[in-house]
């Protein structure tokens, strides 16, 4: 065999698996047909956050007049913005290449396809390996009525290249993380943005209150949001794209005109064309590869991780699964054993959650008690000039066990570290409530939400 381990795909899942495998002494290769870093570094997590930061700077500069700071005419060099974003991507993907070299990981360039259970064709070479990890990720799901041309109709990849000038009027179809993040980017860049969502709330998987709170704040910022709404199709006319929108409940239809449509209705696993049938790796109807807690597929020495194995399609889930697979292959007793997979919408405010929503906790039969702390009562939030949001805590009334934390707040993703650790440590609400939190910080809102579960928050009335 050429390698102890061949990883197919160098996205976050794949490169984490490869580096951990190399750290544990395995002779490792990675086959990648595109750029190392996968969707996340090249056209996902990272470039979106860069654009969000630029947009946020525009937004905050406008609010600076609240404290007497005003600026003359703002100018945005869009080529420079795109270049800056691309530079960050290059730096990070270059970093992954450097890490491959330093960890003595062979980078094979080309599309990979199984020849047999231990042999993979990569470009025009055949490679053999004792173990193989499939980390081929996902791609945008299509919406037949809105075929992507990356000009008028774009997916997330097209939306990452900011056009000059920015679109006048944009429709985002789908109010998940991707749709909302781009909505905020373009809203801050000066586009009039409408977001529609088929489900009855934005970020359908989120806690209902958190979803509502985020929607309220985004609307205040000028983003139009319509839930329980679908887009049926469009007509290209001289004044733009005439899109037919339909109210899902009433069936009422109307036409609205946009310059651009962003299709952000989810992603689908990339498991076709890998020759999986030939080697006997089982794939679900929807294209997800089935795995156990060790990330093994139906063929024990073939593993699969990341977006290609299922939801939530998030980079840190892929990373963790990558580490688990590599460790199992190296003979460690590792398994995918997590209490909660955090998720974040990186808008301002950020929606950051981990663990059970209130509805989920009730469904599972917990006697639920809730703690809430509004950012409007936080001194730190006031000094930051950003008081939209709250921290909501879901707990089990009988045991005091913390079940979920739902944060709508500036820096929400930073605060989520504490919540995630609390869940993994099986912390009770009391554990959080007894822990000193520095003053004045946004993190105190987590403390006060915990105190509010016990009706003992200090800065609000506990009703």
């Amino acid at each position: 065999m050429d390698y102890d381990l061949l990883v197919i795909g160098a996205g976050p899942g794949g490169y984490h698996a490869a580096i951990r495998a190399a750290q544990l002494g395995l002779k490792t290769a990675v086959a990648e047909m595109g750029n190392v870093g996968g969707v996340c570094l090249n056209i996902g997590c990272i470039p979106t956050k860069a654009l969000l930061h630029a947009g946020e700077e525009i937004r905050s500069s406008k609010h600076a007049s609240d404290f007497g700071l005003t600026f003359g005419e703002m100018r945005l060099d869009i080529a420079k913005l795109n270049g800056w974003k691309d530079g960050i991507v290059k730096k990070l993907t270059g970093g992954v290449s450097t890490l491959f070299k330093a960890n003595k990981i062979t980078h094979l360039v080309g599309r990979a396809r199984f020849v047999d259970a231990h042999t993979v064709q990569v470009g025009d070479q055949k490679v053999t390996a004792k173990n193989i990890i499939i980390a081929t990720g996902s791609e945008p799901a299509a919406l037949p009525a809105f075929p992507v041309d990356q000009q008028a109709i774009v997916d997330s990849t097209g939306a990452l290249v900011v056009p000059d000038p920015v679109p006048g009027r944009m429709l985002a179809i789908g109010a998940g993380a991707i749709g909302l993040e781009f909505a905020q980017v373009y809203n801050n860049l000066g586009t009039r943005v409408k977001v529609i969502e088929f489900a009855p709330q934005i970020v359908p998987a989120a806690d209902a209150d958190a979803s509502k709170e985020l929607a309220k704040s985004l609307k205040k910022q000028g983003i139009e949001i319509e839930v329980a709404t679908k887009a049926n199709g469009f007509e290209r006319k001289s004044d733009g794209l005439h899109v037919e929108l339909e109210d899902v409940k009433t069936g009422q239809k109307r036409i609205e005109v946009f310059d651009r449509v962003l299709v952000a209705v989810g992603r689908r696993p990339r498991s076709a064309d890998l020759g999986l049938e030939a080697v006997g790796v089982k794939v679900s109807e929807r294209g997800f590869i089935g795995v156990n807690k060790q990330m093994q597929t139906s063929v024990p020495h073939i593993y699969a991780i990341g977006d290609v194995v299922g939801n939530p399609m998030l980079a840190h889930k892929a990373m963790k699964e990558g580490l688990v697979a590599a460790e199992v292959i190296a003979g460690k007793k590792s398994e995918m054993d997590v209490v909660g997979i955090p998720s974040v919408v990186y808008t301002t405010p950020e929606l950051a959650s981990v663990g059970l929503t209130e509805a989920e906790a009730k469904e599972r039969g917990f006697k639920v008690k809730i703690g809430n702390f509004p950012l409007s009562a936080s001194g730190r939030a006031m000094t930051l000039g950003d008081t939209d949001g709250f921290v909501k805590m879901v707990a089990d009334a009988d045991s005091d066990l913390l079940l979920g934390v739902h944060i709508v707040a500036p820096h929400g993703s930073d605060l989520l570290g504490e919540a995630g650790l609390a869940l993994e440590m099986a912390a009770t609400v009391t554990d959080v409530a007894l822990t000193i939190h520095a003053h004045p910080t946004l993190a105190e809102s987590i403390l006060e939400a915990a105190e509010n579960v016990h009706k003992q928050a200090i800065h609000i009335l506990n009703r």
Partner: protein
């Protein structure tokens, strides 16, 4: 009394390893944390360890 005087002072951490809620419960129940062997890593004491210790004490007292 010798046992009581303490793992906390003689153990290598300079404190009993216990989660905040367990420390609080031990205070409420009047249970000496130093005498509890916690079930977590490094003998870390959880709420359930304190409850179990307190129950043992009660059943011992009942006999």
């Amino acid at each position: 009394e010798a046992a009581r005087s303490g793992r906390a002072s003689t153990n290598r951490y300079g404190r009993v390893l216990a989660v905040p809620a367990a420390r609080q419960l031990a205070r409420e129940l009047g249970v000496p944390l130093e005498e509890i062997a916690g079930s977590g890593p490094n003998g870390r004491i959880r709420v359930s360890d304190v409850q179990a210790y307190a129950q043992r004490g009660e059943s011992a007292a009942a006999q």
